[in-house]
Amino acid sequence: MSIAGHLLGGVLVIPAVAALLLAIIPGYRVSAQLNVLASLLTFVSSVALLRERPEPGLYLIVDDVNVVFIVLSTLVGFTTSVFSAGYIAHELEVGRLTPVTLRFYHAMYQGLMAAMNLALVANNVGLMWVAVEIATLTTVLMVGIYRTHEALEAAWKYFILGSVGIAMALFGTIVVYLAAQAVVGEGPEAMAWTTLVRESGAFDPALLNLAFVFLLLGYGTKVGLAPLHAWLPDAHAEGPTPISAVLSGLLLNVALFALLRFKMVMAGNSESLAPGPLMVTMGLVSLLFAAFMLYRRADIKRLFAYSSIEHMGIIVFAFGMGGPLANFAGLLHMTLHSLTKSAIFFTVGYVAHAKGTQSIDKIRGLTHSHPALGWTLLLGTFAIAGMPPMGVFMSEFLLVSSTIARQPLLAVPLVVGLLVGFGALLGHALQMAFGEGTGEPSGRPLGYVPAFVHLGIVLVAGIYIPAPIVAWFQEVAALLG
């Protein structure tokens, strides 16, 4: 096998082996360190994939579209594991987790990483489906890990809705295979992305339409699009905070990535229905719905979970609009949202520890009692709300301006949604940051490093994006059609 083949293997095998090891190792300190080490190694091999790419096979592929998703995914996986090491020690101290559940947690964490990487590198729609399903399972188990009423309810709801979504996606996958099989013949060829995208012009458009509706509903449930989002806030609020960060930052992206791949297949067929209007509608509905829902949130993690729905709506809207500029904005927004939202959840995890509650009403005066925490939370909220000069502002600005140029009427609800969400997030954040402080001051400066790294990247991206990255984004945006 070539070096590149080993690297690709590393992205999949390192987390899988680590998951098995972590299931055996009893000591939580060692396993937390091993978790960080495995995530770091996975990240390193994914970065190396940028330079050395293996030949695409029938089952696995590394191409322009997925390579940066892999790097982003493993980067956030790594920083989250660093955050998780500190966070988990506290959970053990207060007795919310036991050493046994912790061992399970670490094993599941690496299992999730392996499944997500597999979903990203899969060149076979069936294999990708299996990987997304495994990723769902591991997160369900982690959401329910506290075993409280709320956690079990959230896990159950996530389980049932996620399973239905995944079932829909499988039906769509089968129909895509039927469409491909008539053209390229039976066998694994007819399920490979590369073949699907190349040959889709000859597929039966009616079959593709049927398939896409199911795929949009199915993977859309996993993305958290509005009528199908019910699992998302609960799962974010009741699970351990590192898992909320991974859910928002990575798993939603993986599901969206699957949708994008299928959208490319649809785009190759001129007679099938344009996926754009469907995606624009679902995106706008999610954005507006979530933006208004943001106002009445009482729980800090739920607040940012709704903000994830809002941003997924923006991203799906951008890809639905299509064209080089909107796709570019969508990709940029997807990347920046991952980084910002996971940074926010890192901070929120510490806030909940420092104040002993997740209730927004009981969190006051953070900048007085915990200056570092308070300002980081404020900075993160500014970033996610789209305040200049943070990167999210850039991508939103690009999206709005390209929408105004092409469909001025669609820009109205888009801007309304953005502003409403902006106001809600800022209102809540200011409330929590200022006022009479409560709780004991405490410092854990090292724990802030992952959040600072993420927010730093987002800030830099708002001012200057290196030319190679811009070139890559443009290339992929053109591929997406």
Binding site: L152, A167, M191
Partner: protein
Amino acid sequence: MTTALQFDIAHLLAGSLVLVSFMLLYQARMYALLNLFALHAVVLSLSVAWQAYIQDAPHLYVTAVIALGFKGVLIPVALHRIVQQLHIHRAIEPVVGVGLTMLIGIGLVALSIGAVIPVTVASDSLAREDLAFALAVILLGLLMMVSRHNAVSQVIGFMSLENGLVLAATGAKGMPLVVEISVAFSILIAFIVIGIFLFRIRERFDTVDLRAMDEFRGERR
């Protein structure tokens, strides 16, 4: 054997699966529901075995055996024990009345035939009718999940939905990974069942009725 007969038998088996799905919809007793689900799985495994035979695809026999052994025997037995231990054998409260549910079910079958048959003119007739039946089973499973409040019958609804997916996958000629997908699904179901059992949803929530769980949610009152 003539192709017409092969076709008829495949048709008969897939049609029976839709029929059993309908029967699942109006069951009022938990044990009857479990037995019917076992029947659903047996019909599915016959259907899959028949597809394996006429498509000359030996790997599909594995899927048939999984359907028979796992979903036809193991899962119903496990659920029987859960129902016994949690004392919920009488409690099925449909949200919507039986008559209305059946009417909606008929509508869904018409919808799936109306949606699939016209778009699959180019495919061979066996695959297209199989697909229509499979979609009907999937939609009926969904209907069952939304028309029941109780966790065990929701799981049965989900499993019947999944049987429809396996039917669709085996009907698509030469589709790779069918066995792998059915194994992945079995793992998923095993987790659900173990989940109900381990977390003792009844013990935690006093009832497996999902409405009761909704009340624990912080914000929506």
